[in-house]
């Protein structure tokens, strides 16, 4: 079943065409990787899917319904959650408060004015479960600014999971992590319930090949190749771009 579809999406920033005429679709439960060198337009594409920015032209469909004009917070209610490449957390609040906010965002009780925020027992059970699976339960009373970078990255993902999404958009979930931490993320994505669709951006090839069932390669805002991990591994065009990219990254 079709989960998400982009139809001829383009985004111009002044003179820069960050995303050009991109069309693709994802099936429910599929794990799709989007790769490409720096500045290829991956984050811009995510912001178009998440609703943070509106496309110059083109449309986005969620389960065949046009959501191009839908506000980002509404998309979350429909089941589209995203994480941010640069960690975007509530750094002055505790881990527990961060997760509570994330769970409450899609519940009617988010508008409740008089009841104590920490008195929602049912939510609390979910919070405990999520934080325990993320291995962060014993850190729940820590302020987010006091967490290590790796923990912040994990919390970044935990927040999006707490919205109980159908589609998860992860923008470089393992960026800046150690090999072991990155492997943990790989395991976590593979352990998600099978009907959760995952679209993720990564430069880390272990993560890409460890998780993706299909890969889209972006370059200068355009899709240059799309295929299975094996197709991509053996594609000469991709190798050219990627060798170039990794050469630059090493400098």
């Amino acid at each position: 079943m079709e989960a998400l579809r982009a139809e001829k999406l383009s985004k111009d920033f002044g003179g820069v065409q960050a995303v050009r005429d991109i069309s693709f679709q994802v099936q429910r439960g599929e794990h799709l990787a989007i790769i490409g060198p720096n500045g290829a337009g991956k984050t811009t594409l995510f912001s178009l899917l998440g609703g943070q920015i509106t496309p110059t032209t083109g449309r986005v469909f969620f389960e065949r319904k046009d959501i191009t004009a839908l506000a980002p917070h509404r998309r979350v209610h429909w089941g589209i959650a995203r994480t941010f490449q640069i960690v975007n957390l509530f750094s002055g609040l505790t881990v527990l408060e961060n997760i509570m906010l994330a769970f409450q965002g899609t519940k009617p009780s988010r508008f409740q004015l008089m009841r104590h925020a920490m008195s929602y027992g049912k939510l609390f059970v979910k919070v405990e479960k999520l934080l325990t699976t993320m291995g962060m339960w014993d850190r729940k009373d820590e302020f987010v600014h006091a967490l290590s970078y790796g923990e912040q990255r994990k919390l970044e993902i935990a927040l999006s999971l707490a919205t109980e999404p159908k589609i998860l958009l992860l923008d470089e979930p393992s960026c800046g992590l150690t090999g072991a931490e990155s492997a943990e993320i790989t395991g976590m994505i593979n352990n998600l319930e099978s009907d959760i669709t995952v679209i993720f951006v990564a430069h880390d090839m272990d993560l890409v090949f460890g998780v993706a069932q299909r890969i889209i390669v972006l370059h200068y805002g355009e899709i240059i190749v799309e295929g299975t991990p094996d197709d991509i591994k053996n594609n000469t065009k991709v190798r050219e771009i990627y060798m170039g990219y990794q050469g630059r990254a090493k400098r």
């Binding site: 509530f90 965002g105 009841r115």
Partner: protein, 329 residues
């Protein structure tokens, strides 16, 4: 080495002690004070309500408003209009109408001000409040530049019962407690937690399903409503309401009260109001023309040496004093 002596007290005292002490002082001591001091602490209570309402948008939501006095002034003016121009004296009619009108103004002005963010929000709120002040200045119906004076203490509609000096103090203080209680509930509710989330990262809140605009708008109205409560009580307490009460001087006063007392705590603004209103009084008898200078000096000192405001330091001190110190505030 200095060691802080840690006392053990029942947990309830460790958690709620500051409230108990504060309540005890402000309920028991006032009758023994000279009348002018009673007036001053009544004014403290009035400005505490007003500053707390600003704390909702400034401290909790992270929106800097330079026009909050607009709703204080509208509440105050509405009460004066009802009393003087309509000759309605019953407090239970005057106050609710005035407060609702203040909230309605917030609902309308909020639609304009919340179209922008950051520094522009500051400027738009400033401009809107100055617009209201200049209307009041020119409008004969509300006595223009002279403002409306000669307003008596509230008539509670109880036969044979009139509020004298000290009873009026208690009346205002009880309303302060009620307002504090209601705002406390709000900031600790899921809604209130969402406000903190917006302060920390609005984009993340949207990405979690929150309609952040609506939260800011509702909060702006709630804050306008409580500012209106402050304004109504101010009119009764001072007996006058004038154009400058809608303007930037009163808005910045509330802002300073919040910053000195400690933003994002609700009770911080009460402490701030106590400090500032007392200072204002002493400067008014010793060096009235120096008041802006003194206020500026206090502000600089507070910003440089009292990061987080007095409330933050009091809280830290309290929690150090008790082994199980857990005052949340």
């Amino acid at each position: 080495m200095i060691t802080v002596k840690r006392l053990y007290r029942p947990a309830i005292f460790a958690s709620y002690g500051p409230y108990m002490i504060g309540l005890a002082i402000f309920l028991i001591v006032p009758p023994f004070l000279p009348m002018y001091v009673q007036s001053i602490i009544t004014k403290v209570a009035v400005f505490a309500i007003f500053a707390m309402s600003l704390d909702l948008i400034m401290g909790y939501t992270g929106l800097l408003s330079l026009g909050h006095a607009a709703f204080f002034g509208v509440g105050g003016y509405m009460a004066a209009i009802l009393i003087k121009n309509f000759e309605i004296t019953n407090f239970w009619i005057v106050a609710p109408i005035s407060i609702v009108v203040a909230a309605l103004f917030a609902a309308v002005l909020g639609l304009i001000a919340l179209r922008v963010t950051g520094i522009y929000f500051l400027l738009v709120t400033f401009a809107l409040s100055m617009l209201l002040a200049s209307i009041a200045l020119k409008w004969n119906y509300v006595n223009g530049i002279y403002g409306m004076a000669g307003i008596m203490r509230p008539d509670l509609g109880l036969a044979g019962f009139r509020l004298n000096h000290i009873k009026f103090y208690y009346f205002v203080f009880l309303i302060l407690i009620l307002c504090y209680f209601l705002m406390y509930r709000v900031v600790n509710s899921p809604f209130g937690h969402a406000l903190r989330g917006i302060r920390e990262s609005e984009s993340r809140m949207r990405a979690l399903g929150y309609n952040t605009w609506l939260y800011k708008y509702i909060t702006f109205i709630i804050a306008g409503l409580f500012a209106g409560v402050g304004g109504v009580l101010f009119t009764y307490q001072s007996g006058v309401i004038a154009p400058q009460h809608l303007g930037v001087t009163v808005s910045t006063l509330a802002m300073l009260i919040c910053i000195i007392g400690g933003i994002g705590t609700l009770w911080g603004p009460f402490v701030g109001a106590l400090v500032i209103i007392l200072l204002e009084y002493f400067s008014s008898i010793n060096a009235p023309e120096r008041w802006p200078l003194i206020l500026g000096g206090v502000f600089v000192i507070a910003v440089m040496f009292l990061k987080g405001g007095i409330a933050f330091h009091l809280k830290k001190l309290w929690n150090k004093m008790f082994l199980n110190g857990s005052f949340k505030g």
